[in-house]
Symmetry: C2
Subunit: 140 residues, 2 copies
Amino acid sequence: MTRANEAWEALMTSYAVLVKRFNAEDVWGELSMREYDVLYTLSKCDGPLRMSELNRHVLLSQPALSRMVDRLVDRGLVDRCPDPGDRRGVRLSLTPAGRETQQAIGRPHARSVTRALSVLTPQELDQLAAICGKLSQSEE
Amino acid sequence: MTRANEAWEALMTSYAVLVKRFNAEDVWGELSMREYDVLYTLSKCDGPLRMSELNRHVLLSQPALSRMVDRLVDRGLVDRCPDPGDRRGVRLSLTPAGRETQQAIGRPHARSVTRALSVLTPQELDQLAAICGKLSQSEE
DNA sequence: TTAAGGTAGATGCAAACGCATAGAACTTCA
DNA sequence: TGAAGTTCTATGCGTTTGCATCTACCTTAA
């Protein structure tokens, strides 16, 4: 077992443990955690996002994301309009209601995240962010 | 945005990026990545595992895991027998075919993991493993 | 001993997922 | 310009998932 494999296993385990813990908290209201993830990603990037761009950040197949966006549009949380520059594509953004929902859930969730990671020192938090950032940006 | 929240977001993103990359690799054969995860977890712990124990390591609801184990038993990869000490429970272990399948997939997969994490220094790998270990072991 | 409460795993069912593929729009290049 | 190849999103379809619930078994304590 190489160091790299141990590190990956540790990352997977901590991800699984934390996702389960967050999922069990009673903050999600009418949204699933995956739906929240979509709203959150849209809230981060102020400009409208392409489906494919959004898909890079969400752990979901392209068709599954397409249908999830369908549902969020139906529920009035997301706005989908054609991209004027590329008529194949769409531009996705939060509606005011979507932004409000994201924030209403995001605030208590952010607090649980802070609580869950409070076992780490500030240095460790920085190291974790830096290392994970390096990982996700590496091309291949 | 606190440091903790930035760190969690970085962890989520790197997890999503790497899972997608691994998933796209052509090493999984007849198994889905989630099924492999179950076989791998069983292969790590030599003794038979309880369903609930296995469930702690796999990002799946209890009913979904129960049925996935069903399928793996049907396919002859996992052995499920009643626990003599607790007749509610079951003891899960790999069959020889299951162990063989796990290893056949595990070897090339471990190589891609090593490749994907090769952007990190040995020190960073150790830090990542240590930090993630700390995260998953913290009770609350 | 037995009733009340808790835990382990299985099952019914609707919702959501992934794979394969379709269709439409861009791009490239002969 | 137009045919071939690529990219972007949507849809058909069978499989898998999660939620709620069930049954069976263990535990506690009266």
